[in-house]
Symmetry: C2
């Protein structure tokens, strides 16, 4: 490994001198303790990181998009330069296989370059110009111009299940930096070493490109202690989080209790319902079961988009179920991300297995080893499903619940679902024509509708929504993936009757940036 | 008056049978009780209005924009048809002068037509299309298409100070209906008769255009009782409110405490700082004082954009102050909107007058009669201003606080201001060049920046932001005025791999609506 790990926080361009150990990387399964020890940032250092972020905001937020883009591209380049270190350390800390770590690093780099491209081009600010009409009757109209502006320093919490794409330099950080917001990252205890490797790359890019100190800091010390202090701090103007429902709702409560409440973008909890209509089974029940099993077990089921709930009409799909059963029974247990997630998965599957009316359809015939999660599926009637609070919850891992009833019962159950990231429908166009309310009902409960497919594998693009009504996310008006994610860290501002010289370039008469604008 | 007032709520297309009197219209000043008595909606009726809204949502939200636009235009036409009733009843209930009531009715009608035009054109949904790339390596790309969709039923609270433009069929209602959301209005106790006249027009337009019952209801019974019940109800998906900070923060707390938290758009509290640099005084101190006095006393100061705070450097502006003093002393007390607002104004001005370091610059030499508010101005040093919590508060009425210090002190004070709807700067371009941080600092504290002007008189257009960081609004990412207001009641949704026939028209391949789209 070329990176020397120090085990200390990044306070702007300095390193922490804290000496209180807050944890080590731990190898899943073996529970081997990895060096170095990680030291919690001291309260003074947390304060300093936030002060630096506040001080950096005026300069950083006023930089041209093209200049911020150079910074984002330099981060991407820097991460590519340490990919071998990431893969080496990542395998130790997370048990994720090498191809996944390489792939996720690639996604992270792509995300940084996607936001760089977005702010280089510049039209994303939604510039609007209403020119003055001095002769308008009965009152003259003043010149009004508006565009989106950055909110201020943003706190980003690293995700356990995305050590790269939703951690130190992941989608939240990239979109906040792109918008013009300094970022204070709270590292996740599951992969502190990967965090340090990536943080080094970000800091190097910031320094090499003359970014103001404080544009980026990374704090160790845990989400509960350091994280709460960061979210409470008046400097912070928004929060990005991917993790558990308990963690996300705790941050929402803290943010709402501030003298000045701030937006929290927490991506928390989703079971991603899949509705299978009879016409989809006609096309091949075994192939459908194989595709579903692939989605269910991808990444040991540790994705927010894991299909944890399937509605399957009664008197259909027996071949689908038989095939799924055989796939699950033959499926191998695999190492999960950390001991906490593994225990939570075991607890959740136990609760499901013992809930009223639930039968176990299948579980892996191979005993799960230490730290492992094994595929399994449960089955219940719509009536029993609707009676249970437990069964609407998430089993974070490779397990799913199959809910059976008449098509009418299934349609009637949809509006009772909690908010979801995704909803999938398997059908023909013709069969859906007989159920015109089904897609709108699924739309009302989710942020992404999928036709004849499964929800894992989130495409990072302009048209993706990775968000949905609570509790899928804390703020269903947002997405944490794709170019629309930048909007989370902005607000519109109007300039009224300003001389051209005092306007941002985006709003000047000559349109020097050549961006798309709404003009009247 | 041609409208017969019944004093009952509108529960979809029925009228309430509640018999508990919750209030009457009261003539400001004389305190004359106006007939009829208004009856609170019963809890069953509140429930029914909300159930109807929920039932109306699927059909209403899927209507083409052009169809919803016909409904909005019919409301506008209907309101124009009862303008004489509005003016007659409005003068009794609110003491607002006839030209203001006619003007505000005109603004309300214009807003409805502005949103109608926006949804007829249709590009506001921000349609995005990422076409499939089946041959992409290493993985094929699926077709993704996204657009903004309505949130669900919206609760709208009428504003005391805008009986038309921010009440029954005001900006919140118009933008929510435009977005595709049914609306449940909570009437304000200050102008129940005007509410009933306007509600009749909305209901008539809904029925004449075949809108689903429940697309619109109006409840009497007060914000605290009926209003809290509405905001707590699971059917409601967002809240629009214009009023006091106490009222707005109470609604925020209720919304956040729901099992499913929902967005609240509360426009609450702003003192709209005005910064006067010496170069602006050179152009004519007396004219500047006259313009400021005009803004301060417009509508008896009862606007959210009233300029309640002026930063004036020491050793300048003595002529400005002398002129302002003479204008205020000669200024007439005028009738305020209701007894509560009048008392709150008296209390606030008393608190300011007796706060440490505050001197009274001027007050009207005419004694204020019952229900009236009189112009006044106070003066304080930057140092004493910053020490006081009271002095950052709002005096809702024709009163202002002039804060004096060195230009350096004034610049240093700006970041300590609470969030504001507006900030005004009076200067030359040249003088601002010597203070490059001043406009960005004001930008960071407000939603609208005004150069050499005053904040009253909000232009309703594409480029207006009537919003700002808390406590100006509960959600500084939004505006309650202008076409961007529609975004408050929407969230993005992705359709992945959907056949064309199952896509909304906005996202279909042929672009049948001819809207602007982002395509790749």
């Amino acid at each position: 490994m070329t990176t020397q790990l120090l085990g200390t926080s990044f306070i702007g361009y300095s390193r922490s001198s804290g000496t209180e150990i807050c944890g080590h990387g731990i190898q899943p399964g073996t529970c081997t303790v990895l060096e170095p020890a990680y030291m919690a940032a001291t309260p003074d250092e947390v304060e300093k990181a936030l002060s630096l972020a506040a001080a950096a905001f005026p300069a950083y937020s006023q930089l041209p998009g093209k200049t911020r883009a150079v910074f984002l591209r330099a981060i991407a380049d820097g991460i590519e330069g340490v990919v071998e270190d990431i893969v080496e350390r990542g395998q130790l800390e997370t048990a994720l296989p090498e191809p996944r770590l390489r792939g996720e690093t690639g996604r992270t780099v792509c995300q940084l370059r996607m936001f760089a491209k977005q702010i280089e081009e510049g039209s994303w600010v939604d510039a609007r110009i209403d020119r003055a009409q001095p002769d308008r009757k009965p009152l003259p109209k003043a010149d009004h111009r508006a565009m989106l502006c950055p909110l201020g320093p943003v706190a980003v919490f690293c995700a356990s299940n995305f050590p790269l794409a939703y951690s130190v330099a992941g989608g939240d950080t990239a979109s906040a930096l792109a918008a013009g917001c300094p970022v204070v990252v709270v590292a996740h205890s599951s992969h502190p070493g990967v965090a340090e490797i990536v943080a080094n790359a970000v800091i190097a890019a910031a320094q090499a490109n003359g970014m103001p100190e404080g544009v980026f800091s990374v704090l160790y010390g845990g989400g509960r202690k350091v994280g709460q202090a960061v979210v409470k701090h008046p400097v912070i103007q928004a929060v990005g989080f991917t993790g558990s429902r308990a963690g996300g709702t705790a941050l929402m409560a803290t943010a709402n209790a501030r003298p000045q409440p701030i937006p929290v973008y927490a991506e928390m909890s989703s079971v991603n319902p899949v509705v299978i209509l009879p016409s989809a089974l006609v096309r091949g029940e075994e192939a459908l079961a194989e595709a579903f099993f692939g989605s269910l077990t991808l990444g040991v089921g540790q994705f927010c988009t894991n299909p944890g709930l399937v509605f399957l009409p009664v008197n259909t799909g027996e071949v689908f179920l038989a095939k799924l059963k055989s796939l699950i029974e033959a499926g191998s247990p695999s190492m999960m991300l950390n001991a906490g997630i593994c225990k939570a998965f075991a607890d959740a599957t136990s609760s499901f297995a013992t809930a009223a009316g639930v039968a176990t359809l299948a579980r892996s015939t191979t005993e799960a080893g230490s730290g492992q999660g094994a595929p399994m599926a449960f089955i219940v009637s719509v009536a029993d499903f609707l009676k249970s609070e437990v069964l609407q919850g998430e089993m974070f891992g490779p397990a799913t619940l199959i809910v059976r009833g008449s098509l009418e019962e299934i349609e009637a159950a949809i509006p009772h679902l909690e908010g979801q990231l995704t909803a999938s429908i398997h059908s023909t166009v013709e069969e859906l024509a007989a159920h015109p309310g089904l897609v709108p009902a699924l739309q009302n409960r989710s942020g992404r509708l999928i036709f004849n497919g499964f929800p894992t594998g989130v495409e990072v693009c302009d048209s993706i929504v990775h968000g949905g009504p609570f509790p899928a996310t804390s703020d269903g008006r947002s997405t944490s993936v794709g170019t629309m994610a930048i909007f989370r860290f902005t607000r519109p501002v109007t300039w009224q009757s300003f001389p051209d010289a005092l306007l941002p370039a985006e709003l000047q008469d000559a349109n020097p940036l050549g961006i798309k604008r709404m003009e009247s």
